[in-house]
């Protein structure tokens, strides 16, 4: 019987304690940050959207090789002998036209592995996180500044150069072969 009344007393007392707690919280400042209106400052080193400073990119493809999910796609064209592409901010000479630098943020896993190998610090993570789109294809970010005409021109030039090189090499090879043949003939004639 005593336990019965004790239970009732305890039930009411503890409920009042609980109501006191909720009453206090009713007037506590809410912790909610009203996101689109108020944006919380992200830490400087947040790993959000990738950004590439194309002026600093030397097209070494270190980032492409480091990427575990293959979301970076780079195409380069060798610069001509007389062409000067300038230097990067840390004094490296640029020897390649980077005609394509695509990053598919839809694939990116934000591991930051591409950032560390970059010799010039051109690729980096930014605190920018609002890049949602309605179309997955819009998540393919293109950083190269070349126009399609420039690209095709450069590629055409490279193709021609390569052809010329290949022709030269073939000619050289042929010449070497002929020289060999001639030498062999010489040998034959000698042995006879």
């Amino acid at each position: 019987m005593r336990q019965y009344f004790k239970n009732i007393y305890e039930a009411i007392a503890t409920i009042l304690v609980g109501m006191g707690v909720t009453w206090r919280h009713l007037f506590t400042r809410a912790v909610t940050v009203q996101y689109p209106h108020v944006k919380r400052e992200l830490p400087e080193r947040s790993r959000m959207q990738l950004f590439v400073e194309m002026d600093d990119c030397i097209g070494c493809m270190a980032c492409q090789r480091a990427c575990p999910v293959d979301c970076i796609d780079i195409k380069t064209v060798r610069a001509g002998k007389e062409e000067d592409l300038g230097e990067t901010s840390n004094g490296q000479k640029k020897r390649l036209h980077v005609v394509q630098f695509n990053i598919d943020m839809g694939k990116c896993c934000y591991c930051s592995d591409c950032v560390f190998p970059c010799p010039t610090g051109a690729i980096r993570m930014t605190p920018e996180y609002e890049f949602t789109t309605y179309d997955r294809s819009s998540l393919l970010f293109k950083f190269a500044t070349y126009t399609p005409e420039q690209i095709s021109e450069l590629q055409e030039r490279e193709r021609k150069e390569k052809e010329a090189q290949a022709a030269a090499r073939a000619a050289k090879l042929k010449a070497a072969e002929e020289a060999k043949k001639a030498a062999a003939k010489n040998d034959e004639t000698k042995s006879e």
């Binding site: 409920i15 109501m19 009713l26 506590t28 809410a30």
Partner: protein, 349 residues
């Protein structure tokens, strides 16, 4: 209907020139529309209030966007959403009962409004058995809940409906007994006369009568009425975490909205009964405050109780089924019997 008629006559004298049948019809329809409008507005406001209270008790903000100031239009947007949503009736459901259930629940809730005394003059129907009427009409809702749960042909719904039936029928007993303690003293069941009997200042209210006996009766009534309207900590019939949604699992769109509307209307009704019977209805706590009109006091007191219901909801976890029955049969019922006995003795002596 007499006081209501008088009220409208004073407001619009030309009504007395109309033939009786026309006047009665018009007054009746207008009153029902007024009450329905009040229920709808109250439900919208209470939903908004509940979301805000729950949010702030959890250190959140709750709805903030719709309508500008603190999301005041959020319940309106929700209601429109419910209106235009697809109305789904499960293939194996009992269609007639399924459609009838929300109607019954809401009708029972609205019918309770017939005897609420808003002020000295405005009471839709001044029955001499007003309290008895309201108790019997509000227990109608059980049929609706049971019907909805059964017709859904879903085990969660049926569990919820069974719990609702057992819980609401059990808790009707302490509710009625707690009110009986007051009725015994006042000697009337008319809601209007119950309030008039309490006129004076705050100490003449029934809560402070036979102190502390009626105060305990008030407490018992409040706890039991929470269970009557399926509010936390007694929300077992719809316990989301164990029964998905209880009796309204299968309901969607406007049918669900009517269950909801009925629930909020019931919240107001039980608070209004407590106000009428224990807290002096439309009367001001002090004579000096009599210049504030009665309906404001009435709605204000009822809203305070509604707020306490919400406060409790966001404080307490849900009870277990056996604890629910224990509270009813082993605590509330014996205590209310004891109070009736003691008040009877006090009166006799």
């Amino acid at each position: 209907m007499e006081p209501l008629f008088q009220f409208f006559n004073n407001l619009f004298p030309f009504i007395s020139d109309w033939p009786e049948w026309l006047a009665h019809t018009v007054v009746g329809v207008v009153t029902v529309l007024l009450l329905f409008g009040f229920v709808a507005l109250f439900a919208l406001f209470a939903i908004w209030l509940e979301r805000k209270i729950s949010a702030h008790m959890q250190d959140r903000l709750g709805p903030m966007e719709v309508g500008g100031w603190h999301g005041w239009a959020q319940p309106i947007a929700d209601a429109i959403k419910l209106l235009v949503k697809e109305d789904i009736i499960p293939a194996m459901a009992d269609r007639t009962l399924f459609k009838l259930a929300p109607v019954i629940v809401f009708t029972a809730a609205l019918a309770g409004f017939a005897v609420l005394p808003w002020s000295q003059d405005f009471i839709p129907a001044d029955l001499n058995v007003g309290l008895l009427y309201i108790l019997s009409v509000s227990s109608f809702a059980v049929i609706g809940l049971l019907m909805g749960g059964w017709a859904s042909n879903n085990k969660w719904s049926l569990y919820g409906a069974m719990r609702a039936a057992s819980q609401m029928i059990s808790y009707e007993i302490p509710v009625a007994l707690a009110l009986l303690a007051v009725i015994m003293n006042a000697g009337t069941m008319s809601m209007r006369h119950l309030v008039i009997a309490q006129s004076g200042n705050i100490l003449d209210w029934n809560v402070f009568n036979f102190f502390p006996l009626t105060a305990v009766a008030f407490f018992i009534y409040f706890v039991a009425s929470l269970a009557e309207v399926n509010r936390t900590p007694f929300d077992l019939p719809e316990g989301e975490s164990e029964l998905v949604g209880g009796f309204h699992t299968e309901y969607s769109s406007m049918r669900f909205a009517f269950f909801f509307l009925g629930e909020y209307a019931n919240m107001y009704i039980v608070s209004a009964i407590a106000t009428t019977v224990f807290l002096g209805g439309w009367l001001a706590p002090f004579e000096a405050l009599n210049f504030i009109p009665g309906p404001i006091w009435f709605v204000g007191k009822a809203m305070t109780l509604v707020f306490i219901q919400m406060w409790l909801r966001w404080t307490l976890p849900r009870l277990r089924v056996d604890q629910l029955m224990y509270t009813c049969w082993k605590v509330l019922t014996p205590f209310s019997f004891a109070i009736i006995l003691l008040i009877g003795l006090w009166k006799v002596l």
